[in-house]
């Protein structure tokens, strides 16, 4: 924690603002239900009320408070994005490390498999898989993870190949050091910052991908993520010819943009810090 605070202090002003914003959104996602006066799944006002003292962001067509929905949506968007990032980083770094360390035929097979996944058109395949598995948070996490690990695997492998060429690794291997010993003492510390960076970048991408799937109507209809709130708003017949878009479309849209931008900026900060470009 101390390290994180020190690191934030040393960040650029934009980086600090991004950290602040992300922290605020995380707090929103954890304490969302305490921060909103109304439930996120029950009607608490009239249909399509404009923002007021009572309903800070107005209400949707069913009279559900939008601020409550945004707070709850933050939790769902965070669960999905962190879930995807964890799964993708786990699979990607595992494949990358094994591939880079073992080399030879294993490396060849794993990398050709990675290439195969990379060339698949992502969005159409995700739509098909999303429709096939059915809409639920768990399925969305799995579907998004299936396409998010490839870059991480390649980056990790590339870094590992560089590490493996170092003399101290060769010497350690010469003295009969095991994979576990080499990984824990020499590889982990160099790989971890890259994986953290990948984790953050994947989180940002997952938020956008989940919003896209939900926007296309393939999200879980009962778990209103920000993408799904946007989808419902856009589904309203002729919303742009009504004043409702000003709060109904704008709120989830701004929330998505703020979260994605803050994550991207933090990613940039990390890139600068570790002098590593993804």
């Amino acid at each position: 924690m101390k390290k994180i605070i020190i690191y934030i202090r040393s960040a650029s002003p934009i980086g600090k603002a991004a950290f602040l914003l992300l922290t605020a959104i995380i707090i929103l996602s954890i304490f969302g239900s305490q921060l909103s006066r109304y439930p996120h799944d029950l009607s608490s006002g009239k249909s399509l009320e404009a923002p007021s003292k009572d309903h800070k962001l107005g209400t949707d067509d069913l009279g559900i408070d939008l601020w409550a929905q945004i707070c709850n949506g933050a939790r769902i968007s965070m669960i999905i994005s962190l879930g995807v990032a964890t799964l993708a980083c786990g699979i990607g770094s595992f494949i990358g490390i094994i591939s880079g360390y073992k080399g030879g035929i294993i490396d060849y097979i794993l990398m050709r498999f990675t290439d195969m996944v990379i060339v698949l058109p992502q969005l159409p395949t995700m739509i098909v898989l999303g429709a096939f598995f059915g809409p639920s948070i768990k399925n969305i996490i799995i579907v998004l993870s299936l396409f998010s690990w490839t870059r991480i695997a390649r980056i990790t492998r590339a870094k590992l190949l560089t590490i493996m060429e170092q003399d101290y690794i060769k010497i350690a291997k010469g003295y009969g050091a095991s994979f576990k010993y080499i990984y824990l003492n020499h590889i982990q510390s160099q790989i971890l910052p890259i994986i953290v960076l990948c984790f953050i970048k994947t989180t940002g991408k997952a938020i956008v991908a989940e919003a896209s799937l939900s926007f296309l109507g393939l999200g879980d209809p009962t778990s209103k993520s920000w993408g799904l709130i946007l989808n419902r708003a856009m589904d309203f017949n002729g919303i742009y010819f009504t004043p409702y878009w000003k709060w109904w479309v704008a709120s989830p849209l701004i929330a998505i943009v703020l979260l994605v931008v803050s994550i991207s900026l933090i990613g940039r900060e990390l890139e600068n810090k570790y002098d590593f470009k993804m």
């Binding site: 067509d61 069913l62 009279g63 809409p135 009962t222 419902r232 309203f236 017949n237 002729g238 009504t242």
Partner: protein, 525 residues
Amino acid sequence: MRRILGILLTLLIIMNISACSNSNDDTKAIAEETVESNNDIIIRLAGGDWGFPSPYLHYSRGPGGFKMYLLFDSLLEKDENGIIPWIASEWRIENEGKDYIFTLNDNILWHDGEKLTPEDIKFTFDYYKQHPPVWNSLNVNGKYIVKNVEIIDETNLKIVVDSANATYLERLGKARILPKHIWKDVKDPKKFHSEKAAIGCGPYRFVEYNREQGAYKFEAFENYWGPKQRVKAIEWVPVSDEILAFEKGEIDTVSPSPDIIGRYEKDKGYAIKTNKGFWGYRLIFNMEKRSELKNINLRKAFAYGIDREEMVDKVSRGAAIAASMGYISKEHIWYNDNIQKYSYEPEKAKKFLKGKSYSFEILTGNKGAEIKIAELIKMTLKDIGIEIKIKSVDMKTRDAAVKNKEFEIALIGHGGWGSDPDSLREIYGTDTQEDGSPSSNSLPGYYNEKIIELSQKQMKELDKDKRKEIIYRLQELIAEEVPQIPLYNTRSYFVFRPLKYDGWMYTYDHHYPEHCKLSYLVREK
């Protein structure tokens, strides 16, 4: 300075007046031009894939079936007031309602130039017995109603039916006639994807269908025997947002929500019609899968625990009416108002539940309105102790699941609420799926002897007043029993540009002008 300002003001006023007069002239010119070039009108409508427009390959919903109707004619047709002669110029019913004698119009040609003969009609009724089409009006209680078709002479033929029945004239009259020379060798019509499968004798002929884009193109058939077409071609084009497409002139009609109807009310370039309340949503209970639903008290708890007026206000934005619990639409001429009514009364609903709690899954489509209705149901039923899990799938998957009875409770929306009240028998009085249309889905596991008896009796009653009495009684019984929950009937708006085309009409039993064949033809004044 004042003088200069005065001169400028005068100039402005003169310019405005001339601009106004120009604009009036322009409007007149456009109007005259529009009237003059009526024969060249191309109507563009919002597209979507509703299947190939043959009687066997169209999707079972309205947008699929009514496209096919434009290509294929039937013995009779419908207008604002009732059934009218069409391929058959006249008809009479003999032998105590068992013989239908139709006199055919002369010189009817198929789109490929061949002449329509009574042989084609005989062939059609024989062929439909072997191969039921998607929209099949010729099956009653699971049995084919036509016993025999006899050709009397070149213009007369007799159709012998299995029994006297009040609904048979319409049933025989709306069967689409097939060309024998094309279909006689077709063994499996559901695999007959050739363009020949769209050759009919209707006012429009098939030109193009693009499944991926959901685009269709039909052109007026120049040798059509009947009323002249007012529209040269009808095109269904892909659009992402119908309102935007309408505003940009890409399509010619739209159904906007009441929130934006004001845009069109003020502008004389647009005309607005209110669609009839013959399209609606209902909640179907699968009592085979969840036997608890056989308990009338639980069904009544649903009826009192669902706020249907709230749905009308919030989902349909006021452009709807809460449906009658007797199913027949409140705008139907045979609607009985003196039946049990169920308003939103959560306390009463709780009493019916007697402290028990239940959990059900509602299967719904993934379009906005349906999910919103499901959400409202979930919210209100939660208060009375019924937990609802919403499962949303795409429309076609949901329709198939309802047909195959693979659901606990299904939320489905469809048309057909204005058709002959024999629909009550199809839904409540039989367990056979008589037609591919979602409007004829029966209620799995529901059985009520009295309802079945009256359902059967009403169609055999040829006296209109007596039949009406039975239908009224049926509605009373159905409302008391609550075998399903009719939610609401939409009364959406239909906006069009009258200067471009003003022929839109409603048949007496249908909710939407785009679907009506006569909307595109010259009408006698």
